[in-house]
């Protein structure tokens, strides 16, 4: 997760991220895990459960999933970035606009299996 952010920043601004910023990101990441005292197994399980819940509605690009805990000023949050590959079911109640916002290729509806 933090590495992904660092990579993104590096791509945006060009050149390597300063080691000072890198160490802060790494620290916030490890401290988030230290502070909630969840084992890596439990974090992995939580990741699986959340992915499974989301996957009921949309198809997630599992390769590109970013998942982790992050900490700031002694509060900790779960951060998940789950890119949507396509719709699982065609449901007219689900706004397509909402989906296209986070979708890299908004042409998903062409391959919709009608329930």
């Amino acid at each position: 997760m933090t590495n992904a952010i660092a990579d993104l920043l590096e791509r945006l601004f060009g050149g390597k991220l300063e080691s000072r910023d890198r160490v802060k990101q790494r620290l916030k990441f490890i401290l988030a895990h230290d502070r909630v005292a969840l084992t890596p197994q439990l974090v992995a399980q939580m990741r699986q459960d959340i992915l499974a819940a989301i996957a009921k509605y949309v198809e997630i690009d599992e390769e590109a999933v970013e998942f982790g805990l992050e900490s700031d000023r002694r509060s900790t949050v779960v951060i998940a970035n789950l890119p949507i590959r396509g719709l699982r079911h065609f449901d007219p109640n689900v706004s397509q606009l909402e989906l296209t916002l986070s979708e890299p290729e908004p042409k998903a509806e062409t391959s919709e299996p009608i329930p």
């Binding site: 080691s19 000072r20 160490v23 802060k24 916030k28 401290l31």
Partner: protein, 267 residues
């Protein structure tokens, strides 16, 4: 009203013992009666930094085993009569003492001194648990490095779960030039991550090694180095004085300061 303060860090080698020795000496010079308790059983060092190693006869373990009286075990500093040391046993293992015994010991000491400064061992095991047992407040020493800050965070959590809520931070071995070139976390960075109150910042200083070699804390120098002055300021802040933080960056870059440093270093 006397204060029982544990100096701790989690990670080893970040400057706990150096900070304990210097703060103890600085507080004593401010006229407070101070006792330094080395809680690093089996690996005692505080006596060395104070140059008192040859005068240690009895240790805290002898007191607890009733093999000597408390005042027999207290080594009084000849340079500064307000300062005493209670050394740790060097031979026995770390489990030779209990948290209950340690609590009792520091409590008794607190009746005779304004400050009881407990130098904690590294780690979070028994030795650490014993060191924090009787403490009412804590000074965390860290350096602006990833492992030291991580361990400091862990220790802060443990202290809070032991109901020690008065926790202050010393950021040690800061290198302002590296912070400026974005190759070291700044004090603000460390504070943002740890969210504790800042007690002081100590710049990285070669004089620490020289003072350790001699067994003379930095604050004893006639013209203390920047780090020595930083410790004096921390002692003042502990005493409730409102002392601004040293501008380490300017002190390092100003031409006159550099010149002064070169001139004084030659001697």
């Amino acid at each position: 009203m006397s204060r029982i303060v544990v100096v701790t860090s989690g990670k080893g080698g970040v400057g706990k013992t150096t900070s304990t020795a210097n703060l103890g000496m600085a507080l004593a010079r401010l006229g407070r009666k101070v006792v330094l308790v080395d809680a690093d059983f089996g690996l005692r060092n505080l006596d060395l930094l104070l140059g008192l190693e040859s005068r240690v006869v009895y240790t805290s373990l002898d007191v607890l085993n009733r093999e000597c009286k408390l005042d027999q075990a207290l080594v009084k500093d000849k340079r500064q009569p307000n300062l005493s040391l209670l050394a740790a046993p060097q031979t026995r293992n770390k489990t030779a003492i209990t948290a209950v015994a340690m609590t009792k010991l520091v409590e008794v000491l607190s009746h005779h001194f304004h400050y009881v400064l407990v130098d904690s061992p590294a780690g979070i095991e028994t030795g650490f648990q014993n060191a924090i047992a009787g403490a009412k407040e804590a000074i965390i020493v860290t350096t602006p490095e990833i492992s030291a800050v991580r361990d400091a965070d862990r220790v802060i959590g443990l202290l809070e779960s032991h109901r020690i809520r008065d926790i202050k931070l010393i950021v040690n071995r800061l290198r302002p030039a590296m912070v400026k070139s974005n190759d070291m976390m700044s004090v603000e960075d460390v504070l943002e991550i740890l969210s504790v109150k800042l007690l002081g910042v100590i710049p990285d200083d070669e004089q620490v090694i020289v003072s350790t070699n001699r067994g003379e804390p930095l604050v004893l120098a006639e013209k203390p180095s920047l780090a020595g002055r930083a410790y004096q300021n921390i002692a003042g802040r502990l005493e409730g004085q409102d002392i601004p933080f040293l501008d380490l960056d300017e002190a390092n870059r100003s031409f006159l300061a550099r010149l002064w440093k070169t001139l004084t270093a030659k001697r």
